[in-house]
Amino acid sequence: MSVRGRWRHALLLSVIALYSLFPIYFITVQSLKTPEEDVFGSPLWVADPTFENYTELFESGEARVRGYAILPKVPFVIWLANSAVVLAASVVLTLACAVPAAYALGRLRPPGWRWWRRVLFATYVIPQTILFIPMYQVVLAFGLDDSPAALVVIYSAMALPFCVWLLSAYYANLPREIEESALVEGATRLGAFRRIMLPMSRNVLVASGLFTLGTVGQDFMLASVFLLDRYKQTVAAGLGVMDVSLEELVAVAGVNMAAIPVVILCALFARGYVRGLTAAMLEGA
């Protein structure tokens, strides 16, 4: 690449980095402002940063005063803990269902496997939002309202189709010899899978796990309807019921606080995520 080409490339890379980061920068700037600066300051930077909006999330006591309004306390730490539980359980359940199904579809190839895989994948495009009323009936029938279990099951069903597709593509692409050499040495099919293929697919598992995380993180609607008890809500459900016109900046601060652990997780696994996707995409999707 010529020197000019390299500069142009670097410039374009900076542009896409700015484009990606600007909205996050913008909401962070607003969340660091005092109410006065929010009105009279500049939208692009903060002159006198305060963590007031953030500390308010962690304050104890049942109510707090803000201006002329008395607002109920936000049990933010409990929301964070609930979110973490829902997230972890969803990832575990998704992978526990996806891995065996992917092995069956990618490796054992039962009759009609292609259609099984397609039908499973097709369920991904059915918007959960239009199935919402009967879904709520099911949740009520099982007594799962206000329980994170309902969300875990629904989120896992949402993320599952893509994870099965990804993992089964990877298992299908692995050379036969890898499995067969283990079979020759007397291992069972499942034994060979568990000891050899499963560890090999580590990156694809990471990709599936992160995809599940993204799917869970995307939902606000289901969480806000299924979880009504303030102390059983996740961050998404909780922030949604805050009176936004009065607490806009606190809600924004809450968004940032909730995002930090997720972003750290994603940054740690980002490389594995791309490698896992690539591994599954080799030789056709």
Partner: protein, 292 residues
């Protein structure tokens, strides 16, 4: 390879948990929607009677339906195209070696990593400030300009579409970058010798090679587009007055209690989704691609 009965049985056994999970979550709701769409089930009348296609006939005769359908299709087309274009551009930039690459990759990954369900809340209120803030004037001018050309509520709608493009574009970029990595580099080396301009190379080599992944990205973008819209709709108590099939169905069902009609509206998207699936499957899962 020998494919015995035992293997088949094992395969079904291994698929069982996934199938049970999907069926448990989807089967009853889908069946309920289909059945209800043929009845007059509503909070306004007692019991429910089979009314055949009456709900569908009423829906097709409603000018609002065609308007909502048009808005829905335009929303999907515009956001999906934008996500693909942005995603492809960012993926191509990131695929070339550079000292900045690792850092920029993390930056591009960030919009998707930021949990969308809560970020859309912040995004929406930032673009539609409820109180007076430092940039209210700019936001108000924008809102006025967009609303006066496209109709009331358009700016709120556009702000959701922008969010969807921002977050979905990030996902698409990373996804297509992985796709680019999966293509043998020799193919690009040959292409560099055979083609004259970078644009030609993109059109005749890169895009065709990426086609299965582009199709997959479209597929994955559907759900996200719908979820973002529903999230904001929920959040604002229906303040997005631009009708879209999904949100209008929800409004009919939850607010009006007209479950029969709402179900018909919900299912009206199924033929379109099925059509899209047929085309997409042809692209990323061609029938005779791989010997079993």
């Amino acid at each position: 390879m020998k494919r015995g009965v035992a293997d088949t049985r094992l395969a079904y056994g291994l698929m069982a948990p996934a199938l049970v999970l999907i069926i448990a979550v989807m089967a009853y709701p889908v069946a309920w929607e289909v059945w209800t769409s043929f009845t007059n089930f509503s909070v306004r009348s007692e019991g429910r009677a089979f009314v055949g296609l009456a709900n569908y006939r009423a829906m097709l005769g409603d000018p609002l339906f065609w308007w909502a359908l048009a808005v829905t299709i335009v929303y999907f087309l515009v956001t999906t195209t934008a996500k693909l274009a942005l995603g492809l551009g960012m993926a191509l930039l990131l695929a070339r070696p550079s000292r900045l690459r690792a850092l920029v990759f993390l930056a591009v990954f960030l919009p998707w990593a930021y949990p969308g369900g809560v970020t859309v809340v912040a995004w929406y209120w930032m673009l539609n400030p409820p109180l007076i803030t430092s940039y209210s004037l700019v936001a108000g001018t924008l809102k006025h300009a967009v609303d006066s050309t496209l109709g009331p509520g358009a700016w709120a709608f556009v702000s959701v579409a922008l969010f969807n493009v921002w977050r979905g574009g990030s996902f698409t970029a990373v996804f297509l970058l992985a796709g680019l990595n999966a293509i043998p580099t020799e193919l690009f080396d040959y292409a560099a010798l055979e083609t004259r301009s970078a644009w030609q190379r993109l059109r005749h080599v890169t895009v065709p090679l990426l086609r299965p992944f582009l199709a997959l990205a479209v597929f994955l973008s559907f759900t996200g587009a719908f979820a973002d819209l529903a999230n904001v709709w929920m959040l604002t108590g229906g303040r997005i007055v631009f009708p879209v099939i999904g949100t209008y169905a929800y409004w009919l069902g939850i607010r009006q209690g007209q479950f029969g009609e709402a179900a018909a509206w919900s299912l009206s998207l199924v033929p379109l989704l099925a059509l899209a699936l047929l085309v997409l499957f042809r692209w990323f899962d061609p029938p005779a691609e791989r010997p079993a």
